[in-house]
């Protein structure tokens, strides 16, 4: 089970959270000019990396807020969590900090 540091509540067990998929995927701003391909990209295509993944979690049994999380999908180690709305962190920088 993951130990997930909610940016609002601190470390909590995975059971308190719900996973909500890849983060930083913005809904197309102008639906009427969005092509089928762009809709497909938005709805269905995912980066699914073997390595660092930026993903959303929701602390359903705690503060109930969504936040973002950088996790290594090979070790499942969490490198950083941050409130929704903040920009994407620099992944290279994070890796350096974690000393990997």
């Amino acid at each position: 089970m993951l130990l997930i540091p909610c940016p609002h509540c601190g470390n909590r067990p995975e059971l308190e959270f719900r996973y909500a998929g890849e983060a930083h995927i913005a809904r197309p701003a102008d639906p009427s000019t969005t092509s089928d391909q762009e809709w497909a990209e938005y709805l269905y295509f995912r980066s699914n990396p073997k390595g660092l993944h930026i993903e959303r979690w929701r602390h359903v049994s705690g503060c109930a807020r969504f936040f973002n999380c950088v996790r290594d999908t090979v070790s499942d180690k969490i490198l950083k969590t941050y409130p929704a709305g903040q920009p994407k962190p620099d992944l290279a920088e994070l890796v350096k900090e974690a000393g990997q």
């Binding site: 993951l2 719900r18 996973y19 497909a40 295509f45 995912r46 699914n48 999908t73």
Partner: protein, 416 residues
């Protein structure tokens, strides 16, 4: 050497010490007519049918680990074809038909056992969904029938149908032709038969890159054993499909999740069939060795770690103990995880790609073992003819753009 009574008797005279190796261990040639990436059941089967039905013998299957070491060797082997949509029924039923003859076709006992797969309904919604499946299947001539709780218990006597359960059993859908097979034997049988026809199966050979010419067409693969040239590449890499397709800059509608299973200590036969429950996330059958084979749902998050959280299997065991109270005191021997590649509509992709010479067979998620022979058979056709077989024509990558999804979430919502 064929497995036959005569050869068995001959080998017995020398205490079975002179059986030849079942497949060759070749070094890669400089180039092949086609390369399959991934030596799971689907990849090995693809190579087999390419050689057998399409006359392509100068081909290789590249495997980063050992053959059959991916999801093929980690799955709980449930076979059935009771899916909702005609497209899926065509594909899975094609597979069940091939299972029926596979042991004699491969001269290898894959231990296909059509012992019946029973899917339990615990809610009104389950009843409606399963009855809809029963009708949809029967319209296509695929067997599937509705059972009352008492009939379900008659079919599987250890089942608890007490109305006092937390989620009482309200009925069940039974596919009698469904069942199980020996997972490893499927990989080994295809490997042995393909190798005998000249297919090079190269293990410990990880594909690291896909090389393309200025027109974009593939020209070969970079591997841990060097560059190997080819004009046709079939990617059959299950959980690693996004990674391999990324080598040709193709993004996929896939997410890779851990999926776990576990087995109990072996006991005398107590269970004649397969029982599954989507609603309370558990399914079980008994292997010929006597172990109870139990499967869980996927973990919540994407991962390549090939392990999963213990709370997932605990949750499954809660459900198993409720369904089968007499297994409560059994000990679990082993548990493990595989990485399954899940599509948004829970149907696979067997398709050409935007890259010339690159084909992909993936998205089998939690339930592709049952499809191994059928999938391999039509994928070989797709690679050999550069166009899909009618059976897999609908399973394109493009369907996520056109919106013609094949939604099997109800048939495949739990791992199987």
């Amino acid at each position: 050497m064929r497995f036959s009574f005569l050869n068995l008797a001959k080998q017995a005279l020398s205490a079975h010490r002179h059986w030849p190796e079942q497949w060759r261990f070749p070094e890669p040639k400089a180039a092949y007519d086609a390369i399959i990436i991934g030596a799971g059941g689907h990849g090995l089967g693809t190579a087999y049918y390419l050689a057998k039905e399409h006359g392509l013998r100068n081909i290789a299957v590249l495997e980063k680990g050992w053959l059959g070491g991916g999801n093929t060797g980690r799955n709980t082997t449930i076979i059935r074809s009771n899916y909702l949509w005609e497209e899926s029924q065509g594909l899975y039923e094609h597979s069940v038909k091939l299972w029926e003859n596979l042991s004699s076709e491969l001269n290898y006992n894959v231990m296909y056992s059509p012992r019946g797969v029973m899917m339990l309904a615990h809610t009104v919604h389950d009843i409606q969904v399963f009855k809809r499946h029963v009708h949809a299947n029967r319209l296509q001539g695929i067997d599937n029938e509705w059972l009352t709780p008492e009939e379900a218990k008659e079919f599987c006597p250890i089942l608890n149908i007490s109305p006092n359960m937390r989620y009482p059993i309200l009925g069940a859908a039974l596919q009698r032709r469904g069942g199980t097979a020996r997972h490893d034997a499927v990989a080994w049988g295809y490997a042995r038969a393909a190798s005998a026809m000249g297919v090079d199966i190269i293990q410990n050979c990880e594909v690291k890159g896909i090389r393309r010419d200025p027109s974009g067409a593939v020209t070969g693969v970079e591997t841990t054993k060097g560059f190997i040239g080819t004009k046709k590449i079939g990617v059959v890499a299950a959980g690693h499909t996004s990674v391999v397709m990324g080598m040709a800059d193709v993004r996929m509608p896939l997410e890779s999740y851990p999926l776990q299973a576990l087995v109990s200590e072996p006991i005398k036969p107590i269970m004649p069939c397969v029982v599954m429950s989507n609603t309370i996330h558990a399914y079980m059958s008994q292997s010929d060795k006597g172990e109870l084979v139990i499967g869980a749902g996927t973990d919540a998050y994407t991962s390549y770690s090939q392990t999963g959280g213990l709370h997932i299997t605990t949750h499954t065991l809660d459900a198993i103990c409720e369904l089968f109270p007499n297994v409560r005191r059994l000990r679990m021997l082993r548990n493990w995880g595989g990485i399954v590649d899940v599509t948004p509509d829970r149907s696979p992709i067997l398709s050409k790609t935007p890259v010339k010479g690159l084909y992909v067979n993936c998205g089998w998620g939690t339930g592709g073992f049952k499809a191994t022979p059928g999938s391999a058979n039509v994928f070989a056709h797709t690679i050999a003819k550069d166009e899909p077989h009618p059976i897999n024509a609908a399973f394109t990558i493009d369907r996520f753009k056109t919106g013609r999804l094949i939604d099997e979430a109800a048939a495949a919502a739990v791992a199987h």
